[in-house]
């Protein structure tokens, strides 16, 4: 029987294939592992992620020259995809470290939890490399379905169920909108491959059908990255889901969604950038304001970080809409995308760092973390308080941290692309954000008193947070390696 694709294409998706098999293996293994030995499944999951990461260079060597297209233009192994694959693998690994103790002491089995996390990661890996509207959509759904289950995994906790229900209903709704948008794009261009869409758009005048398709696609994507006006689910889901899962939701899916957002809109809709940029601009402005102003009012730290992550989605949108901003001499044409990649790397480190400290601080089970719980933390644990200060400074974009470097690039891109007012709004909102981030600093350092929350010794989480801390500071002080790497991984 003749295959519709050359067998060597399978080698290009080797990391994804192997991770799928390993995740299935863990699911099977979980049936025979005793409840008290479940930790071994977590280590096996971590090992699976490491193996997957190690297989990426192998796939590259099989692929020959990058970018290597496979499966008739469904999948491409290129620098851009690899950059995002690494980010998502890191996100999954950190989430597993965060979950170890939490899953171990809960009354729910751990095997499925880790397997779902890995399935979701497989989806994200495919998202990073999809170059066809169908493969992108299927990858997105693979990721999202696993996550709906993860959000409601702790099924006897009311908050968890509420979060899962909201996430699922709104997620399914947005997927529908996205799918409808993609179908209209197909109707207008007659093709589903991004390269085909791009060349079709470049040669044809603007059409109403196409514009509706682009707008609906944008709406679907804006939902996935939790941008206004499709942001409402984010704070509820982050608050309701167990903290390790919230941390994962705040980073992993967003990073992957940015990857396909960038891919669809640059590689696919690029020729129509002048038409879609204003839509993204309006959403970016709204998102920055709603996220940051909304966070001002929050008492719950997880909701606060939820709103702040909406604000961060808004900043990153600046990079997407500044896609055409040509850089200075010796700098890439797609300055905006460069900025997004740098910013997302910084965002991953600082957001995981902040969530990790919440995991370490949790009171009873989960989801009862108020800002007051941080009162006097400097006394109980000076190291943790100091680390939290660094993460919050980074989130607020104060140097010398990774967050500053990322924001610097984003605001530069916005100004360069001709959106000076958005850049102004961005810097002003990041000044506003300092106010609510530093409410936590104020609680930790200025307010006396023992919170009810006890500090927990969890070496795995502490190590993960420590690595995030080192990364946040290292990128802040020496950004050059990351900056150069991101530049090498830009979309062509």
């Amino acid at each position: 029987m003749a295959l519709p694709f050359p067998l060597s294409d399978l080698l290009v998706i080797l990391p994804e294939l192997v991770l799928t098999e390993l995740a299935l293996g863990i699911l099977l293994w979980a049936t025979v592992v005793k409840r008290e030995n479940e930790r071994v499944l977590a280590w096996a999951s971590l090992a699976s992620l490491a193996i997957t990461a190690a297989l990426i260079p192998v796939a590259v060597s099989f692929a020959g020259t990058l970018p290597r297209s496979a499966f008739g233009g469904m999948f491409a192994l290129d620098g851009f995809g690899i950059f995002f694959k690494v980010l998502t693998l890191v996100a999954a690994a950190v989430t597993i470290l965060f979950s170890l103790r939490f899953v171990g002491t809960s009354s729910y089995p751990g095997g499925e939890y880790y397997a779902l996390l890995l399935f979701s990661t497989v989806g994200m890996l495919f998202m990073a490399s999809g170059t066809h509207l169908v493969s992108l959509y299927i990858a997105l759904e693979l990721m999202a379905l696993s996550q709906y289950v993860l959000a409601g995994y702790f099924k006897r906790e009311t908050k968890s169920i509420e979060a899962a229900a909201k996430y699922f209903v709104l997620g399914a709704f947005s997927s529908g909108i996205l799918l409808y948008g993609l179908s209209l794009v197909y109707g207008a261009t007659g093709t589903l491959s991004l390269a085909g869409v791009s060349s079709s758009l470049a040669g044809s005048p603007r059409s109403g059908l196409l514009m509706v398709g682009v707008v609906l696609t944008a709406c679907g994507m804006l939902f996935k990255i939790a941008s206004a006006p499709f942001h409402v689910w984010a704070p509820d889901v982050y608050e309701g889901a167990p903290t390790p899962v919230s941390a994962f939701f705040a980073v992993g899916p967003k990073v992957a969604a940015y990857a396909i957002f960038a891919r669809i809109f640059f590689a696919g809709f690029g020729p129509r950038a002048d038409d879609w940029a204003p839509i993204l601009a309006a959403s970016a402005a709204l998102t920055m304001v709603i996220g940051n102003v909304g966070a001002l009012m929050q008492k719950n730290v997880k909701r606060l970080l939820g709103y702040s992550s909406i604000g961060h989605a808004g900043y990153a949108l600046l990079g997407l809409l500044a896609y055409k901003a040509g850089g200075a001499a010796g700098q890439p044409e797609s300055f905006g995308l460069w900025a997004v990649m740098i910013y997302l790397s910084a965002y991953l480190l600082m957001t995981f760092g902040a969530f990790g400290l919440i995991v370490l601080l949790e009171a009873k089970g989960y989801a009862s973390e108020s800002v007051d719980d941080f009162n006097g933390l400097w006394k109980r644990n000076p190291l943790a308080a100091g680390a939290m200060v660094v993460f919050l400074l980074s989130l607020a974009g104060i140097p010398p941290t990774a967050g500053f470097v990322g924001k610097y690039f984003l605001f530069s891109a916005a100004l360069k692309a001709g959106w000076p007012l958005l850049a102004l709004l961005g810097v002003l909102m990041s000044a506003v954000s300092l106010f609510y981030y530093f409410r936590i600093v104020r609680a930790m350092y200025f307010v006396e008193g023992e919170g009810e929350v006890q500090w927990r010794e969890e070496p795995a989480v502490a190590i993960a947070v420590g690595l995030c801390l080192v990364g946040t500071l290292a990128i802040g002080v020496m950004p050059q390696p990351l900056v150069a790497l991101a530049k090498a991984c830009l979309l062509p």
Binding site: A328, I398, P400, L415, L434, F438, F446, V483
Partner: protein, 543 residues
């Protein structure tokens, strides 16, 4: 010594890290280490004073230049001219004094306290050394964090409010400055919006920006000027942006107030003369812009003085007097002549010495009585004669009595203002009178009269450590007051260069008739050709 500036920047941070590893309860060792590190930094900064080059040219010395972020053209580039060198000396001096003065004032969480003070010193020195705009911005922001903690942890009753207000206010100004930096970067390279770029290689080199300043179109120059203005005017602080200052000064611990008044405010004026004036000379020399800034400065002088007069709290009085003094400095800078510029620079130093001294002195009595209300005192000179004497000297320096530093600065500024527009000088001189009024009235109410309050009868006079913190400041005040020549000489070439940059832009903006144009180059000589302009200094000595 090619790495002197890096050493000055890193030494306090190294000291702070070392303190982190000391046990919390070994406060003696922590204090000794902090004082030692700050003292060593001061000693190591002394070569800046003895460098001959500052007196001969406006060039930057002690240069260091390394690649930092090649993709953006960001460099780790350091260097100082005479003005920056003086400000660094002021910083290292005030840092060691404020650390030494905190031994008994701060009794809680000493370890963090000295760590933050040393980190703050790193940030401040970095701001004055940086010759790369990106690097400058990093230091400018980094410095806010330790100050926030100093106010928030060791401050007064309204410390929480004051700390975040200080941080947010300054941050709002600086993020807008960041946009201006980005705009400048793109103008230098590929251009942005409707402005065509110069097509140069990516760079944040401040000296390069000084060179391309004449090429910046007038409209962009205006935008940049006002963006920088927000960043720096909030820091100075100029009149409508000053409201964070009384809160921060009053709530900060004594050492924090000393550093705030002595150094942090100087960063604002330093920003004007390092960035606003040389990079946007065409906007600055626009007579409407100049008038607007001068009017705000004069309002600051008079308003600050009047508000100071009605204060009931000694520290708040000194805080408002800072608004007035900084108004003088800004008036001098924006007179755009050598006298005004040099007067402004010297007065920045003077204000650091005398107001720093006043905050120390207020702190000394606060430590004894735990109140700063003027009404709680009276007749103090009977129980604390040495304290009263020290207070008198510093206070007279602040008022501007001849033979003390304040006079030299204010007089030179008024000369500059008079040369620019005699009406400005007239209004500003009201400030001198008001300054004498509120300060002397303060002195009268606190030190003279009868000893009404029972609690004040047992007050101990200053001890040796406290005297040692004040005496260096008094000596410096006397030195500048009696023999300011070396200070003027040190800042003359750098000031002349800034004035020349603004004058050139003004001349370029004016349509020049052909006959005059031929003679013009002689009248507006470039900076290097001006023989070290110490004329104002000579004037002062004559009086």
């Amino acid at each position: 010594m090619n790495f002197l500036l890096s050493l000055l920047i890193l030494l306090p941070t190294a000291g702070a890290l070392a303190i982190l590893f000391l046990p919390r309860d070994k406060t003696g060792a922590i204090k000794a280490l902090a004082t030692g590190v700050a003292g060593l930094t001061f000693v190591l900064s002394l070569p800046l004073w003895f460098a001959r080059g500052f007196r001969e040219s406006a060039g930057f010395l002690f240069r260091e230049d390394l690649d930092w972020i090649p993709s953006l053209g960001v460099r780790y580039s350091l260097g100082v001219d005479g003005i920056a060198a003086l400000l660094i000396l002021l910083t290292t001096l005030l840092s060691v004094i404020s650390i030494y003065s905190s031994y008994t004032a701060v009794k809680t969480r000493e370890k963090e306290y000295y760590v933050f003070l040393l980190l703050l010193e790193t940030g401040m020195i970095g701001v004055f050394c940086a010759l790369d705009f990106f690097l400058f911005y990093v230091f400018w922001e980094v410095m806010l964090v330790p100050m926030y903690f100093l106010i928030g942890v060791w401050g007064g009753p309204r410390k929480l409010y004051a700390a975040i207000k200080f941080f947010l206010y300054t941050l709002f100004g600086s993020v807008i400055m960041l946009l201006a930096i980005i705009a400048l970067y793109f103008f230098n390279t590929t251009g942005f919006l409707w402005w065509k770029g110069l097509g140069n290689a990516p760079s944040f080199d401040i000296l390069h920006f000084h060179q391309i300043a004449p090429l910046i179109p007038a409209d962009l120059s205006l935008w940049l000027f006002w963006a920088f203005f927000l960043g720096f005017a909030i820091k100075v602080p100029m009149f409508p942006f000053h409201t964070w200052l009384p809160d921060a000064h009053v709530e900060a611990p004594t050492a924090g107030s000393v550093i705030l008044a002595g150094v942090l405010l100087k960063m604002g004026t330093y920003g004007f003369l390092r960035f606003s004036l040389p990079i946007c000379p065409s906007a600055a020399s626009n007579s409407r812009v100049q008038t607007a800034v001068v009017v705000l400065s004069i309002i600051g002088i008079i308003y600050g003085s009047l508000v100071a007069m009605v204060q009931k709290d000694m520290k708040k009085l000194v805080a408002y007097s800072s608004v007035a003094h900084l108004g003088f400095v800004m008036l001098g800078l924006f007179a755009f002549n050598n006298a005004g510029m040099q007067g402004g620079v010297i007065q920045s130093i003077n204000h650091g010495l005398s107001t720093g001294g006043l905050f120390l002195l207020v702190g000394i009595i606060y430590e004894r009585r735990h109140t700063r209300q003027i009404a709680d005192f009276g007749g103090i000179s009977q129980v604390m004669p040495i304290y009263a004497t020290l207070f008198m000297i510093i206070l007279l320096a602040s008022i501007g009595l001849p033979l003390l530093n304040g006079f030299v600065g204010e007089f030179t500024i008024l000369v500059g203002a008079f040369l620019a527009n005699w009406i400005w000088a007239l209004f500003a001189s009201f400030g001198v009178v008001l300054g004498a009024a509120y300060m002397l009235w303060l002195y009268q109410r606190v030190f003279f009269g009868e000893l009404k309050h029972e609690e004040n009868k047992g007050l101990e006079d200053v001890n040796l450590r406290e005297v040692l913190t004040i005496v260096p400041l008094i000596l410096a005040c006397l030195w500048i007051g009696v023999y300011p020549k070396p200070f003027f000489e040190m800042t003359a070439p750098a000031s002349a260069k800034i004035v020349a940059a603004v004058e050139n832009a003004r001349a370029a903006a004016r349509p020049v008739p052909a006959a005059v144009a031929a003679a013009a180059p002689a009248a507006i000589a470039p900076a290097g050709a001006v023989p070290a302009e110490v004329a104002p200094a000579a004037d002062v000595k004559g009086h």
